[in-house]
């Protein structure tokens, strides 16, 4: 792996030459302190001081809704219109880890062409970050990244240290020869080490994820789940904003003027009541508590047991999204037996009054 240096003032010119070949997507402020990966037309829109986007980068590979194919009497015509050549710039380590987990779901046993084609056509240009109170990536060990990117930009004071992670990444830096400097000084290295140490100290959340499978098992029948179920608004947002949630639903949209149907696909969420409904109207998980238990079993137990790490990359999106304080951080702490001032705890006191 090679590391080069890029002066800050050369970043936009570099991105500009890259974006001649592909659509550039980067974080943009959408609301006050809320960001979104957007197609960049104007470089001044890019906001690299962001912490997290509302939706994770999965939206670029499998959009929330899209058409998979047109089914006709003769057969079917695949629709890959969501696949375009893209450069995803500014993605943080946790989200790159999220994509690596999605790769496992969509590529390892059966290949999902809608995901894979979009993935193959996207360059991943990562960017370093700074944690806020919801970031849990140090606990999930996803605060650093060693694979899954083409280039990774670590921000120093006046320059970036740029890790080259793939041959495509190596091709990129050759687009504008001369702006990448191979001569990294001792001072640069010291600044980088200092930044790294300071960032390590800036994390405010510490969760022992490796203990979670056991705690989930021990507390499977705990009244905690009923409390969470009583508060859950069943809105599905935790799943939609999660970078590793990957469930989807398939919908037929018959055309009125032609004997054919568009077969669409949309994100689904196991926290929604309709998710576990089967033909005949039966529902495996009618209660919100059962559905939350399933969600957390997946994130905190099943995946850790199988792959040795959680299906949570610590991005903190569930924490900054759920209106009733149900998120990986609060649930993990509750499983550890910590008493917290959360809406679901207050609601349970209110209702039993």
């Amino acid at each position: 792996m090679k590391i080069v240096k890029l002066k800050k003032e050369n970043l936009f010119p570099f991105l500009e030459s890259l974006s001649k070949e592909a659509d550039l997507w980067a974080p943009v402020q959408k609301y006050e302190n809320k960001h979104s990966f957007q197609l960049i037309k104007d470089f001044s829109q890019i906001d690299l001081k962001y912490t997290r986007t509302i939706l994770p980068p999965k939206k670029l590979f499998l959009p929330p809704t899209f058409n998979m194919f047109l089914a006709t009497e003769q057969g079917y015509e695949e629709d890959f219109s969501h696949v375009t050549k893209k450069i995803l710039f500014g993605i943080h380590p946790c989200d790159i880890h999220g994509l690596l987990i999605l790769d496992r779901f969509f590529q390892h046993v059966f290949d999902d062409p809608y995901y894979s084609k979009a993935r193959q056509n996207t360059l991943i240009l990562g960017h370093s970050c700074w944690p806020d109170e919801n970031c849990m990536c140090k606990s999930t060990n996803t605060h650093i990244i060693e694979e899954g990117y083409d280039l990774f930009f670590s921000e120093l004071e006046t320059a970036y240290l740029v890790w080259i992670g793939s041959s495509e990444g190596d091709d990129c830096i050759r687009i504008k020869p001369g702006i990448f400097d191979e001569d990294i000084t001792d001072e640069d290295i010291q600044i980088y080490i200092k930044w790294h140490n300071e960032r390590d100290k800036a994390f405010q959340v510490d969760i022992n994820f490796i203990a979670m499978p056991d705690l989930m098992e021990l507390k499977y029948e705990n009244p905690l789940w009923e409390k969470l179920g009583d508060a859950c608004l069943a809105c599905g947002s935790c799943s939609n904003v999660c970078p590793t949630c990957n469930c989807y639903n398939v919908l037929d949209k018959p055309l009125l003027n032609k004997y054919a149907s568009e077969i669409g696909r949309c994100w689904d969420a196991c926290t929604l009541e309709s998710y576990s409904e089967v033909a005949g109207g039966e529902n495996f998980r009618e209660k919100r508590a059962q559905r939350l238990k399933l969600w957390y079993t997946h994130k905190l137990q099943a995946y850790i047991s199988k792959y040795g790490k959680p299906a949570c990359v610590g991005c903190g999106r569930c924490a900054s999204t759920c209106p009733v304080d149900i998120n990986v951080q609060t649930v993990a702490k509750a499983l550890e037996g910590k008493d917290m001032d959360t809406f679901w705890n207050r609601l349970s006191k209110e209702v039993t009054k």
Partner: protein, 257 residues
């Protein structure tokens, strides 16, 4: 061999007629609609209406008079499939928000006085399934164009229509909106049937619940959440009741406990 065209009737009971108008507003598809099916009755669109046997009856509006009841009973007798379209028909609509009979009588008197209705007798506004068996429901206030066309085409092909069991929040997140409820704004997204594309929240306006209550909405939790955010008890209940018709009856019952 092609089967005969489906015989369809579109009927309006008490409501704003917005759902029927929405069907007429499918301008690019109207010719296809009228070619694909035999529209037997559609008061807003044509004058030579026939009240005969039907494959499908689409009923808009709530039941608020004895005349509505008679008409509805007659539709049910003639139609193989009855579909409630729109909020009024599904849950009673804005006019169906008072579920307490005593309260309804008082309100009626307050508005109309002691007037004696001669052509028909008013009754408390109710959804059509308070009187007849309903086969399918198409939510909305008014119904959505895309949902209607999807529903219509599925029925033509002999498929059951899609259900809309997801709250507004799902499409709201698809659109990457910032959660208004989280910001302390009285938004009814989690309690409301989706399908609208979260259009209000896309424009930074909170959901008022116009598509009607979603199956499995957690009213109690949202009620306490809004209370905690400082909203007045009466305001929350009124907002919740606006588009919930008879549904709010159970919720009020739970909240009283």
């Amino acid at each position: 061999m092609k089967k005969d065209k489906l015989k369809i009737g579109i009927y309006e009971l008490t409501g704003c007629a917005g759902c029927a108008l929405l069907i007429l507003d499918c301008e690019n598809e109207l010719v296809d609609i009228f070619q694909a099916a035999d529209i037997q009755s559609f008061l807003m669109a044509k004058s030579d209406n026939i009240d005969g046997e039907l494959d499908i009856a689409l009923v808009e509006g709530s039941v608020s008079t004895e005349k509505d009841i008679e008409e509805l009973m007659d539709i049910r007798k003639r139609a193989e499939i009855v579909v409630a379209i729109g909020l009024c028909s599904m849950v009673g609509g804005i006019q169906g928000r008072f579920c307490d009979e005593k309260e309804w009588k008082e309100n009626f008197k307050k508005v109309y006085g002691d007037i004696e209705m001669t052509h028909t007798k008013p009754v408390q506004s109710k959804p059509i399934d308070a009187y007849i068996k309903v086969d399918y429901y198409l939510p909305g206030c008014p119904i959505g164009k895309e949902q209607f066309l999807n529903f219509f085409t599925r029925m033509l092909r002999g498929n059951p229509p899609e259900r809309y069991p997801q709250p507004v929040c799902v499409e709201c997140k698809y659109n990457e909106n910032d959660c208004l409820l989280k910001k302390g704004i009285l938004c009814l997204g989690p309690l409301t049937s989706g399908g609208c594309g979260a259009i209000c929240i896309n424009h930074n306006l909170p959901c008022v619940g116009c598509w009607g209550p979603v199956e499995g909405g957690n009213w109690i939790s949202e009620y306490y959440l809004l209370k905690e955010k400082g909203f007045d008890d009466e305001l929350i209940k009124n907002k919740m009741a606006n588009f919930s018709g008879t549904k709010i009856a159970e919720v009020s019952e739970q909240l009283r406990k």
